[in-house]
Symmetry: C2
DNA sequence: TTACTTTTTGTAATTTTTACAATAAGTATT
DNA sequence: AATACTTATTGTAAAAATTACAAAAAGTAA
């Protein structure tokens, strides 16, 4: 990014300052996505190995520059869709990272988003970035490019905070699920065991977890009743709060 | 912002796209500050009346473009200091607003911050923006420029969420305070009354609220013991969590 | 029929929250 | 000095929520 030494006296509503001409435009704007993978093991994070400098060879979060004609959230949705091929992913803005020196090649401010997906839904071979993308356990992350470690830490914290209050599991576990499956989701994300009975009492309070008349099949023990997410009821309760 | 029709084939780690040359730099980057004012009445918000188009005459949040050589948080700190003259204000990032059409003159992405101050510490006459800045009750906001109403709503929600878990009152109420004064802070911010006895029990759990050996003076009733914020203990507990 | 596994419901102890009352300690008034 | 008054401070009992643990139910497998 070229620098100029000419300065311009600028003024806004309440102060005057001197800055290099055009220097406000010497910056780029990106989004970075923390995609958490839910599966049988630890919670995972999807990382991409960088093929170019800076930080060549290190692992990094998938991200992209924001197009000039696209909303911030749209940009995150676009990258997530390209990565996961999942159309209706829920994602949420986490934080914006804007330290001057966070990118060695220039001023790049990045907005972090997170999402959580079921790893089973993935077919890495099908994606063009497959040979470069890999899941890593949140408990054992490699050395990361830029400030991406901070971004993950921040996102993981927010994910945990949201898990108790928002139905993040919707769209991640099966559409019709057993309470044991739901409990596993909570246990994996929060990295913590729950008592079976007490967990059910807590879920009872979530009115948007509705029982169905269906049951598990082909299990070598007593089949569990299946439950589902009541989207309408959830949205109604959200509005009134 | 001038547009060009030339396009450039860009490539990043995992996809290729065509964009107008330089168009990633056709954007500006700002911060906006939601300064909440604590006083005897409702919680207030500091707004500035716009003197120029767009939205001339409407009220807006104080904010500024981010300097190219300044961290995001530094930028917020600079604006807040210019506005409030308070050196060590606590402020927190809330959310980033990046809809394409949020600014009628071009693409401006803004990062929102909030802070809370004691209105008594203010001397509006002393500041150069005094004739344009005014406190407004959060319960009765005027018509606002841009998407600033959304920004305030978002910030107010976050302020409420943080009030129970963080000592936001530190630096806002007196350094040595009575528990009744602390309770008033909570009641004003959360817009909700608390039971005197029960509030004390809750505060008892906040180990960083430490009693002193001092008492109120010149009050026409039983003087209350004064308490203070134990910064060291708070920071120690923060680290271990 | 019995053993086994998991689901589902229940229960009693503990802790936390809530509503409300009693006491304490000062000032102001008679 | 005694009394009224105001707020601070402590206490207490009922209600609600959480926790640890157990029992019963409902299926499969031997």
């Amino acid at each position: 990014m070229a620098k100029t030494n000419k300065t311009l006296r600028r003024r806004n509503e309440y102060q005057i300052y001197d800055v290099p001409i055009d220097s406000f435009f010497e910056l780029a704007f990106s989004i970075d996505c923390v995609v958490f993978g839910y599966g049988k093991k630890d919670l995972q994070v999807l990382l991409i190995q960088r093929g170019a400098e800076p930080y060549k060879g290190l692992w990094a979060l998938p991200g992209d520059l924001v197009y000039p004609d696209e909303d911030l959230d749209t940009s995150a949705g676009r990258v997530l869709k390209a990565l996961t091929s999942l159309p209706d992913l829920n994602f949420e803005q986490v934080h914006t990272f804007g330290a001057v020196d966070r990118h060695p090649l220039g001023r790049v401010v990045t907005v972090a988003y997170y999402a959580i997906v079921n790893m089973k839904g993935f077919n890495p071979k099908a994606a063009f970035w497959a040979d470069k993308a890999k899941w890593h356990s949140v408990k054992n992350l490699p050395k990361l490019a830029f400030d991406h470690r901070d971004i993950i830490d921040y996102s993981y914290k927010k994910l945990k905070e949201s898990t108790m209050t928002k139905p993040l599991w919707n769209g991640v576990i099966e559409e019709k699920f057993t309470l044991t499956q739901l409990q596993s989701f909570f246990e994996t994300v929060l990295d913590k065991k729950f008592d079976k009975g007490n967990f059910r009492k807590k879920i009872d309070l979530f009115q948007y977890v509705k029982e169905t008349e269906e049951f598990e099949k082909d299990v070598p023990y007593r089949p569990s009743r299946l439950f589902k997410f009541d989207k309408k009821l959830y949205q109604k309760n959200e509005e009134s709060s």
